[in-house]
């Protein structure tokens, strides 16, 4: 059960469909007597709207999946709130929430139990949420949703997960989540394990769902190119912090934060004319970065200043983009580059 489903002050129109405010997750590693405190998600606040893709991007271990798991109630937030737009009450059973927020997972081959027929999940969803009166209504509903993702009931009836390709399974998974007509769809790396030749067809499917069903899509990915393609808003996460957040066009084409810049430059572009030039250095100690007192990126930032190592920067707004970096909190003159 996601904690703190409180109602926000009502704004009639552009009210966000889903908001997080100060969302924090602390994990403890080790035994009771000696444990490390790792802040996997550190005061993450964002808001997403219907008909919009909101991308959470970052490298592995940046906390993006933990955010998704907290929204879905698979993980309890240590602090902070998850606010669903029309939320009227303080507490809801999980079913209330999952009727409004659904999810698609990374590994299509793990999404369904290999020993069960895939149709079982579709019928269970229909039955558990009371979506149909009888079996033929259920089949009709299921078929409609499968057709929305380019499949049909006849193609999946009586078959096991191993009989489908990754792309097909991902479509079935999407169809299943659509059964409850959710307002928000969380897609956690939905194409990273799908065959390259059909990857874009799944991405296009999300695009279509966003337009046709006016859904909010929370797209979690490490792949900035598809994030760019999908448009909307993006938050770049690093070691539990949102480093930069704003419209995709701005953040990816004119990155402000040194980390976003590094990330953007490190993506190999499918064009032999745009080969990498110059060399990079890689820090190795993930643990150290989590425990760091100042800015988490200070260890490998090319623009690092003394203050970065001792004090975590505030988030500031620069031309409609939120950025968490001392470069933008201080007047330019004080910037002292260390190479």
């Amino acid at each position: 059960m996601p904690a703190g489903c409180t109602r926000k002050g009502e704004k009639p129109n552009m009210q966000p469909i889903l908001e997080t405010s100060g969302l924090t997750k602390v994990f403890y590693r080790g035994s009771l007597l000696a444990r490390d405190r790792i802040v996997a998600v550190d005061k993450v606040s964002f808001a997403m709207h219907r008909g919009e893709v909101f991308t959470l991007a970052g490298e592995s271990g940046c906390g993006k999946t933990t955010v998704a798991r907290m929204i879905l109630g698979f993980e309890q937030p240590t602090a902070g709130e998850i606010i669903y737009a029309h939320n009227q009450e303080k507490w809801h059973p999980r079913v209330w929430f999952t009727q409004r927020i659904q999810a698609v997972f990374q590994n299509p081959f793990e999404t369904f139990n290999p020993l069960r027929k895939v149709e079982g999940y579709l019928f269970e969803t229909v039955r558990n949420y009371g979506l149909a009166k009888n079996r033929s209504d259920a089949v009709e509903l299921i078929n409609a949703k499968l057709e929305a993702v380019g499949l049909s009931y006849g193609e999946i009836e009586g078959r096991y997960p191993s009989e489908f390709s990754g792309g097909q399974l991902q479509r079935i998974s999407i169809a299943r989540s659509l059964l409850v007509d959710p307002s928000v769809l969380i897609a956690d790396e939905p194409v990273s394990m799908v065959d390259a030749s059909i990857r874009m067809s799944i991405v296009n499917l999300f695009k279509r769902l966003r337009n046709e069903l006016n859904m909010g899509i929370l797209y979690i990915t490490h792949d900035l190119a598809t994030a760019y393609y999908l448009g909307g808003q993006i938050a770049i996460m690093f070691r539990g912090n949102v480093m930069e957040m704003g419209p995709v066009q701005e953040v990816l084409m004119r990155p402000l934060h040194p980390y976003t810049k590094l990330l953007r430059e490190s993506i190999p572009e499918a064009d032999p004319a745009k080969r990498w030039r110059g060399r990079i250095s890689i820090a190795e100690t993930e643990q150290e970065e989590y425990l760091r007192a100042g800015c988490k990126f200070a260890g490998r930032c090319p623009m690092v200043m003394d203050i970065c190592k001792v004090q975590a920067p505030e988030t500031v707004a620069v031309e409609g983009v939120l950025v968490k970096c001392h470069l933008y909190t201080k007047p330019k003159e004080e910037t002292k580059e260390v190479s």
Partner: protein, 334 residues
Amino acid sequence: MFIKNYLIPRLLQYFLVIFLGITIVFFIPRLAPTNPVERTIAEIRSRGTYLDPRFVQDMVDALTEMYGLSGSWLDQYKDFWVRLSKGDFGVSFFQFPTPVITLIKRALPWTVGLLFTTTVFSWVFGNIVGGMAGYAYNRRWSKALDLLVMLIRPIPYYVFALGLLILFGYVYRKFPIAGGATIGATPSFTLSYILDVLRHSALPAMSLAILGAASWFQTSKLIVQNVNAEDFVQYAQLGGVREGRIIFRYVIRNAMLPQITNLALSLGQILSGALITEIVFSYPGVGHLLYSAISTGDYNLIMGIISLSIVAITTLVLIVDLIYPLFDPRIRYK
């Protein structure tokens, strides 16, 4: 770091297991439908001994005192721990009035000697041979060995020991069938006495060692077949690393780790097996003592054997647990 994360939790668990185990041992006879005193008297009667009713009450009182059953449960319980810490388990009933601890002390060297040598041998041998058989799982010798083990492994200690006893004690009279040494031989450090002891231990040791080795062989072979498929073994093969090096440093070395844990977890069973085997061969160890205690209804002796076994086994498990990080750097350097 290591002490806090690894040592202290294990020590806590160690004392907790001993505490709970001993507590259970304390309460079982008290919760049972018949108490040991009644059982003992019934036992004596059933052997046809006539008991004068006048003496029965005296006897009940004496037995209650002897079994530590007088006073409230709490007093008994406290008293039980006090006596335990001094190694005092009361006096034996069937060898009255020898203290239980003396009997156990007398039997212990035989059991420890038998148990220690056979366990170490079977673990090492079973793991190495099982490891090699698992590495060469589709070779003929490996399959033949596997079939042999498949025939031995499922047989319980008692039946296997009896089988050996019949085969080598009666059909081919190769080894003595009972005792720890020839009756009347005086214990001494002479070659002939030592040979005599070894000859007497041959059958019990053989049955423990063969069964143990078969069991370790089987698990080791299974583990190795999984380790074989591990990327790091494949990688060493890809790299043309010499086969002997792969088998010992890559395969068996890694397969050993779960086997150390398995050893800790099966020590209790191994002890049970040794006790049973001693019964079959009338070997003068703790198992034989246990048998006498069961047949005579000697509760103090049984309580003593069980309490000591619990302490001994949990201590051994603790030791194995503490040694484990030496073999697994993933635990040593977190």
